[in-house]
Amino acid sequence: MSDNKTLTFSIMDGPFEQARTVTVMRLLNVAARRGYNINIFAYEGAVSLPFARQSKHPNAVHGRDIEEEDHPLPKDWIASLIKSTAANGGQLDWINCGLCVDERGMQESIEGVRRGTPGDLWKWACESDNTLIIGTR
């Protein structure tokens, strides 16, 4: 059951690059399991995390086909988080920075992701119980 806490996160790192992405997903998973309301403002490379055209691939070096390799995709993690948050009584709202999306041609995101501006992050930060900014290092 949700106790109506709302947490906002801002993330910057793109997929397949940094351990921070996995750590952020672990944090979001905890909040989702608790049924908190979760806001995520993704900017710069992070707008690629929910890109719908991500696809699994074989690994020729290790001789594995697509199924054996079972390469994890951030868009699937995000879709799973959206579902688990709702199942536990919360809501996950993901906003991609529109300028960052247009720069990268990342307009095709999975369902549940919308575009916005840094103004949305400001509004969320004012309304949330707490906000964590996770920048690129």
């Binding site: 905890v30 908190y36 920048g135």
Partner: protein, 108 residues
Amino acid sequence: MANYLLIESRDPYATHEVRHDFHLACNLAKAGNKTTLFLVQNGVIPTRKNAISSGLLHALDNGVEILCDEFSLRERGIPVDTIMPGINIAPIDTIIDHMVDGSKVLWL
């Protein structure tokens, strides 16, 4: 005075910036704030008993609570019983707990 949770994900042997982060934690604690340093990813590297990290020891001596992400230790093959005294192992849930409690949470 406030409650601070500082998150350190970098290895102090790879970047000098981490020293400044340890200093920040010390100064916050010296000023009377309840200060917790949560080490995650390569931030857990200096926690081994045989590691030399004066900044981390200085933080401990100045009353900073130091927590170490259990998952990050496991990923790196660092056994829990090799961690220096005074540092406690914690789950990633700790960060969410602090956010909900209203701590000032900063990813350094």
